[in-house]
């Protein structure tokens, strides 16, 4: 419950129309795309400018109310779920693109700009913003920054972090900081910007973002390779990387995923194949032609069952779009879709596939695997029913065992979805209690009261 005084102050500061308190509204503003997680906030605010955010933080500070930032709630680790109640601060009405600076190749936006809207706006000016998370049609830029979202183009172009140049952020005491700028180089003091990226809303609330833009590739070629055996697909990926070819996209789908995606898009994907790779090379036409040839040679060498080339840009886009729906399409099969984000060094890809197959067998589960093969970033997805307790137990045992080996190989428990609520337990296993302790100290330096998205990334002391 929010104290009455606090409510009055918020009403005065923001006006009633920016506050939401009806039960039916609160009920739908306490979830994201992470299965099984839901909490109800006490209040939701819709700021329309940075000053509004400052006012909300000031009241939260004075009354010690937890604050959880939210964009479109497409997260996959529970980052925007208000597990301690309090205020959810919905940033998706702050959605103006403030500037596209063609001289400095930057764009500056408010927090709630939709990723694809930015992509389209800069594309109109002949520029390119590469990060393209699966949910780009609705995900917001600040959400991408806070989770350091990846995407299909990560392999060649990197992830959100690689494009953030400057951030405006409201801290827990109500003060504002601007960090970074349009300068390409900047080593003035601590790199707060880099600390804030991927901080999942635990250090402050981002209200404005300046990103780097690049010229788009002149041309690209898209290939679909089918495999009788998923291990072979893994080998193909390792060989392509070893041949010093860096495709812009190298995505994998296993048989279960292929079938679910085909059920949805119906574009004639081969239902009987064990796996497919979607590979795209882009850049200067001469380079693209050369890489395409080398790619085909490797796919021949590892004995891919079939290799097809996209007819045209539209055809290629259809394939990428189809891949983006993989997770949601898998959700057709069962009521609950448990998704993970294991990432391994790329040389370990084939071994990881073997391991997933073994564990699936061992725990008697239905698993669909897809992901950014070129990044070693896989999404083994257990298709289950949250009402079946035994199955849920087996699913968790599956992930525990998988992660143990992933960490032994030098991998990570989260490639791009963040730790949030869902993976707090795994984080300590990866970075050790010392690592978690340092993170806690950083957190308390930014937010001594602990009001900024509490309960995320690491357990509170004593929890």
């Amino acid at each position: 419950m929010i104290a009455q005084d606090a409510m009055q102050q918020l009403e005065q500061a923001l006006g009633k129309e920016k506050l939401v308190t009806a039960r039916e509204d609160l009920l739908v503003l306490g979830y994201d795309s992470t299965p099984g997680l839901h909490a109800t906030p006490d209040l939701v605010v819709y700021p329309t400018c940075t000053e509004d955010v400052v006012k909300v933080v000031e009241v939260a500070r004075d009354f010690n109310i937890p604050l959880t930032p939210r964009g479109s709630a497409t997260g996959l680790s529970g980052g925007s779920i208000p597990i301690n109640g309090g205020i959810v601060i919905c940033l998706n009405k702050m959605n103006r693109i403030l500037e596209i600076d063609e001289e400095n190749l930057t764009a500056t936006c408010e927090a709630g700009v939709v990723t694809l809207d930015l992509f389209n706006a800069v594309a109109e000016k002949g520029l390119f913003y590469p990060p393209d998370p699966g949910s780009q049609k609705i995900s917001t830029l600040a959400g991408n920054v806070m989770e350091d979202a990846g995407g299909l183009r990560g392999l060649k172009y990197g992830v959100t972090r690689d494009y953030v140049m400057a951030l405006t952020c409201v801290l827990a005491d109500g003060s504002m900081i601007s960090t970074g700028g349009k300068s390409v180089k900047d080593v003035a003091g601590y790199a707060f910007k880099d600390l804030l990226v991927g901080s999942e809303g635990t250090l402050g609330i981002v209200t404005e973002i300046t990103v780097k833009l690049i010229p788009p590739p002149q041309t690209k070629q898209t290939f679909l390779a089918y495999f009788d055996n998923i291990r072979t697909a893994g080998e193909a990926v390792s060989k392509i990387i070893a041949a010093k070819i860096i495709p812009s996209t190298m995505e994998i789908m296993d048989k279960a995923t292929i079938n679910c995606v085909e059920d949805y898009v119906g574009i004639g994907l081969p239902r009987q194949m064990a796996a497919l790779l979607l590979i795209e090379v882009d850049g200067h036409p001469a380079v693209v032609a050369e890489e395409a040839e080398a790619l085909k040679a490797i796919l021949d060498e590892v004995k891919a069952a079939e290799v097809h080339q996209a007819k045209d840009a539209q055809d290629a886009m259809k394939l990428a779009e189809a891949r983006r729906t993989a997770l949601s399409a898998l959700a057709r099969v069962s009521p609950t879709t448990l998704l993970e984000d294991a990432t391994v060094p790329r040389s370990k890809l084939a071994d990881t596939f073997t391991l997933i197959e073994q564990l699936t067998e061992k725990y008697q589960l239905t698993v669909g695997t897809f992901g950014h093969a070129g990044d070693g970033n896989l999404h083994p997805t257990v298709l289950c029913d949250e009402r079946n307790e035994d199955e849920m137990k087996r699913a968790h045992a599956f992930y525990d065992e998988l992660y143990e080996q992933v960490l032994a190989w030098g991998g990570t428990v989260s490639g791009e979805h963040g730790i949030g609520i869902a993976k707090k337990g795994y984080l300590a296993k990866q970075i050790g209690s010392g690592g978690v302790e340092v993170m806690r100290r950083i957190k308390s330096a930014f937010d001594p009261q602990g009001i900024m998205n509490p309960g995320k990334i690491f357990a509170n002391e004593g929890e």
């Binding site: 009806a22 009920l27 739908v28 479109s72 009405k93 949910s135």
Partner: protein, 433 residues
């Protein structure tokens, strides 16, 4: 543990299936396709939010309250979310079912209930009564009263919806149903026989459109049987939450049409087509599942049917016009028919087809939505008109009477020159008499 039926705070009759709401994994892919979410930015007015609310009611966490009623009717039922959902959730259908809950759980004032029963249970299922009820409206136009009313601006004094409803009324002609012969014969080489499902709005408000539909079918080589006893398809009842009457009507129409020896049952109304294709689910309690699925297979929208059979272009006259196409929600989203109308338009000699942006975005008509939510409907319509304007096309084609009414009214109000034609009217222009 086996999956169990949960009803929670829904009544048992006509409640959303718990499995259907559980299927949503909250990815949010539906949000940018939902006109009411884009308009309001409000999660509860999005498909994801609405399904979450239905789930909360199912789980007993929320009463079926006023907000549920609002969302059930604020949803345009445009089904864009169904197209967008990779997980196969049908948020629009869930809301349609919730409308039936509204009438069970939130009692309306007596006079409203009586009026609703009169219209939905007595009038609409009876084509003769409907035709008689239109006589005053035709007289209203013929005697010049309409001219008087429009020029006196007297309607500006009443609620906005009356003014808009009056403004939307097209020029009325005698209803088509009694005029159409029971059998009209194919021309040229005969390719088959179809039954014609003539929608209420088509026969009453757009008789000349459906006349063209029959003409086109005949010219394309099909005998057309029009059973006169046919009743309304039940769509108005579904949208108003009267599933009981829908079931009665559906059973009647199904038996009537299945007794005919025809290759297909064709309709030129997207709303009817969508409802007819839902009979299988609406009548799922019936034991004769084979008959239900046979009926489903036979229902064809006119574009779907002509494309399946292949359009005969010989003998078509050129139509030298630029044309753009608005996709009715109940055609593209509810029935998945999107390519076929474009193929037909492009098959007409002389036509310069221009794709509009967001062709499959709702026009804001959505049954009675345009009258219940005039402001919101106007905003959705404005977005559509802007996209039409940018094509600079001379003709706007669509394939559903609801869209037709809304678009024709909108274009006129916005002083835009394009006439709205049903796709069979365009084909009719190319087809010799």
């Amino acid at each position: 543990m086996a999956a169990q039926q949960t009803c929670g705070n829904f009544t048992i009759l006509d409640a959303p299936e718990y499995e259907d709401v559980l299927q949503c994994m909250r990815c949010g892919f539906c949000l940018p396709t939902c006109p009411t979410f884009v308009l309001t930015g409000r999660e509860r007015s999005s498909p994801r939010g609405r399904v979450a609310l239905a789930r909360a009611v199912s789980e007993g966490k929320l009463d079926f309250n006023q907000a549920m009623k609002e969302e059930a009717f604020f949803c345009l039922d445009c089904r864009a979310c169904t197209t967008a959902c990779p997980s196969g959730v049908k948020a629009g259908e869930v809301m349609e079912v919730c409308r039936a809950q509204v009438h069970q759980q939130i009692p309306a004032p007596k006079w409203q209930g009586a009026l609703r029963n009169l219209v939905l249970k007595k009038m609409v299922p009876n084509p003769g009564l409907m035709e008689t009820s239109m006589v005053p409206a035709r007289l209203y136009q013929k005697l010049g009263i309409q001219w008087l009313v429009r020029n006196s601006k007297i309607l500006k004094l009443g609620p906005t919806w009356i003014d808009k409803a009056e403004g939307m009324l097209p020029e009325l002609h005698r209803p088509l149903r009694p005029q159409l012969p029971d059998l009209s014969l194919a021309q040229g080489e005969k390719r088959g026989t179809v039954a014609f499902f003539l929608g209420c709005v088509m026969t009453l408000l757009y008789p000349e459109v459906s006349r063209q539909t029959v003409k086109v079918l005949n010219h394309q080589g099909f005998d057309v049987i029009t059973p006169k006893e046919q009743k309304c398809c039940g769509a108005p009842h579904l949208t108003e939450g009267d599933r009981e009457t829908t079931r009665e009507i559906a059973a009647f129409n199904l038996d009537l049409f299945l007794d005919l020896d025809v290759d297909a049952i064709v309709t030129d109304c997207a709303g009817c087509g969508a409802a007819l294709k839902e009979y299988e689910e609406i009548l799922a309690e019936r034991k004769d599942h084979e008959r239900l699925s046979l009926f489903h297979q036979k229902i064809k929208d006119i574009s779907e049917f002509l494309c399946e059979r292949g359009i005969r272009t010989e003998g078509l006259k050129p139509v030298d016009k630029s044309v753009t196409y608005h996709e009715p929600c109940h055609l593209c989203h509810a029935q998945g028919i999107s390519k076929q109308p474009r193929e037909l338009i492009k098959a007409i000699p002389g036509v310069d087809f221009r794709e509009m942006k967001e062709a499959s975005w709702c026009c804001g008509s959505a049954a009675t939505f345009s009258l219940k939510f005039t402001d919101e409907s106007q905003k959705i319509l404005d977005r559509k008109l802007e996209n039409v304007r940018k094509t600079e096309a001379e003709i706007l084609v669509t394939a559903n009477p609801g869209c037709h009414l809304q678009l024709a009214w909108g274009l006129r109000e916005a002083n835009m020159p394009q006439p709205v034609l049903h796709i069979t009217e365009l084909l009719g222009l190319a087809t010799p008499d």
